[in-house]
């Protein structure tokens, strides 16, 4: 880990802009689904990214792993700028930077067996695992993710969703990654299976020291797994910080509204709702509002918000960075803690 960035982050994203290009005639329109995101993932830690649908989470994930070229900004992994490294170096880095996708079925080639899927990385990067050892290594990985060696010869359609997701994880682990980007990696799974996978991820982090950039719209899941959380809204980060702190003391009006909307086991039909309703629709990243992007739906919004974009900085009285002109540390709506507390 000697080449790690000075501040110890394994992954550093700085001022990242990424998105889609619409071609109309000869003109190209950029849709910056991610517009200036900064974040850092330290080694052996989990950073969660939450936000509503369409806020740019997937775009961020894909830009980080290089499936989508950023418009601008830096993605630095293990001390190297992914935008400038040579192709060869980039491919070598692929071994250390992996991703687990949302839909476990589509992420696995249906024509390959589990063993082939897991070994694919070794075939590409010759010399990582000798062909003779591959069977044993496959069995070890399968064991690691809680599958038996009887699964090795099956194909994805012969497995359940949870099992497929385990195979995806094993496949990502095969090359010994240091960071795994998980884009909604458990959203497609039932609670009981989701719990298994979340436990598995946590165990792997403990055993292997992997870091996760964990993207999810499920706040409970992120809260459970992530050490730090980043809250996104229309391509920008509105609030970030240690998970506990952000969830217990959300500062941005958007974070508060988001947290207040999460259904809880303790809700009851008759009980008064804690919900802070949000009105209106999420603006399109193609035509974001000026200033603070949340102002169109914010009860606190003023003229000032329309003129000036609030920077993402720690506020007085707030322990973590918030992009709101009016964040003052007086959290009004704390997120209900779990059953016990």
């Amino acid at each position: 880990m000697s080449v790690e960035a000075r501040d110890g982050a394994l992954l550093k994203v700085e001022g990242l802009h990424a998105g889609y290009v619409h071609r109309v005639g000869l003109a190209r329109h950029r849709v910056p689904a991610v517009a200036g995101v900064d974040l850092a993932v330290p080694a052996a830690r989990t950073v969660g990214v939450v936000g509503e649908s369409g806020c740019g989470k997937t775009t961020l994930a894909r830009a980080v792993v290089g499936l989508r070229a950023p418009f601008s900004g830096r993605v630095e992994f293990a001390g190297r700028d992914l935008g400038t490294v040579s192709r060869r170096e980039r491919r070598r880095l692929a071994r250390e930077l992996q991703m687990v996708f949302q839909d476990p079925f589509t992420a696995l080639n249906p024509r390959m067996t589990v063993a082939e899927l897991i070994a694919e990385g070794w075939r590409i990067h010759r010399g990582t695992v000798a062909p003779a050892d591959q069977a044993a290594e496959t069995a070890r990985l399968l064991g690691l993710v809680g599958l038996g060696s009887e699964h090795a010869e099956r194909r994805p359609h012969e497995l359940s969703g949870g099992q497929c997701q385990r195979v995806s994880i094993a496949r990502a682990l095969a090359l010994g990654p240091r960071l795994i980007v998980c884009d909604e990696a458990v959203s497609a799974l039932d609670v009981s299976v989701q719990a298994q996978i979340l436990n598995l991820l946590a165990d792997l982090q403990e055993e292997l020291g992997v870091s996760y950039l964990f993207i999810s719209h499920d706040l409970d899941v992120v809260r459970h797994l992530a050490h730090e959380v980043v809250v996104m809204y229309v391509g920008t980060v509105v609030e970030s910080g240690p998970t506990d702190e952000v969830f217990r003391n959300p500062q941005h009006p958007y974070t508060r509204a988001l947290l207040s909307a999460v259904p809880s086991l303790r809700d009851r039909p008759g009980l008064p709702s804690r919900e802070i309703p949000l009105h209106g629709d999420v603006p399109s990243p193609a035509t974001p509002p000026s200033g603070c992007r949340f102002r169109t739906r914010c009860r606190l919004a003023t003229e000032h918000c329309a003129r000036e974009t609030p920077p993402l900085v720690p506020r007085p009285g707030v322990g973590h960075p918030v992009a709101c002109h009016y964040a003052d540390g007086a959290g009004t709506t704390a997120y209900p803690a779990g059953n016990g507390s």
């Binding site: 996708f101 992420a107 969703g161 099992q163």
Partner: protein, 288 residues
């Protein structure tokens, strides 16, 4: 998005329906006929027997042999003709599809997978070809190349490749966006590996379906070329040529044109049924 949207593990594969087996059987018979026919019941395009011309099915020819399906306008046995023709027609159909399919596969893969300017150029070429009436292209090409089996295959393949290219391109295009292709890319796989291991396999099935459809259509197109006088050389027998040359006799000696036309229809029907099976094998919704 939706949590419970995932289906449970593997539903048992559907068994191949009976009509597919029947179709395959009939096709096998025709292939066999094409292979063995010329041995068992040889056809000599050169030997004419004028006194026995235009005999109806079941007649005795001049030399006393029985013409099961009658004789043609030169007194040659129609059964032998149809048997020999099955070989030529099937070979033309298959060879065209293989040739056109190969070209289409290559073009479609490149243009679907890489996109960008190669795609733009290849797509425009395909557009030109599609906008250009295919039968006229065939007429012109057949004129340029002259009559021979190989040239007919080339001609027909030239008019077909776009269809395959489009099919493959569409599959490659969607395969390129598949999550498992991304996943392979993330493992550091190069273009060649992704193309061969991940993109190509998902192109086969639509290509195969298109291919089976085209085998039949190609055989019909060969007949159309014959109609326009650009078919197989005189000393070859093909169904298309026989149907076409016998058409003037439909009012008097119907069997000459009708027997090979029915053979053609039967083969196309069977090939189509097999093609449907290919389609069904992969698409559970089409099983209804």
């Amino acid at each position: 998005m939706s949590a419970p949207a995932l289906e449970a593990p593997a539903r048992a594969r559907r068994r191949t329906p009976r009509r597919t087996w029947i179709a395959l059987g009939v096709l096998a018979l025709f292939v066999l006929a094409g292979l063995l026919g010329p041995v068992l019941h040889p056809y000599d395009a050169v030997a004419t027997d004028l006194p026995s011309r235009l005999l109806p099915p079941g007649s005795r020819t001049e030399d006393g042999s029985l013409a099961w399906l009658g004789t043609d306008q030169l007194g040659r046995d129609l059964l032998a003709n149809v048997l020999a023709g099955s070989r030529v027609s099937l070979v033309v159909g298959l060879a065209t599809v293989v040739l056109g399919g190969a070209a289409g596969l290559l073009v479609g893969l490149v243009s679907g997978y890489f996109g960008g300017w190669p795609d733009a150029v290849l797509s425009r070429i395909g557009d030109v070809q599609l906008a250009f009436p295919s039968i006229l292209l065939a007429i012109l090409l057949a004129g340029v190349l002259g009559p021979s089996l190989t040239n007919i295959v080339i001609t027909l393949a030239v008019t077909r490749w776009v269809i395959f290219a489009r099919v493959v391109r569409a599959s490659a295009l969607s395969a390129r966006e598949l999550e498992y292709v991304n996943s392979a890319r993330l493992l550091g796989a190069g273009h060649l590996r992704i193309l061969l291991r991940h993109v190509l396999p998902s192109c086969w099935q639509p290509l195969l379906v298109a291919g089976t459809v085209q085998v039949g259509l190609t055989m019909v197109a060969e007949a159309s070329l014959s109609f326009l006088g650009l078919g197989v050389p005189v000393d070859e027998a093909s169904w298309g040529a026989t149907v076409s040359l016998g058409r003037d006799y439909l009012g008097s000696a119907w069997w000459i044109s009708t027997v090979p036309a029915l053979a053609l229809a039967l083969v196309v029907l069977c090939v189509g049924a097999v093609g449907d099976a290919f389609r069904d094998a992969s698409d559970p919704r089409a099983q209804l």
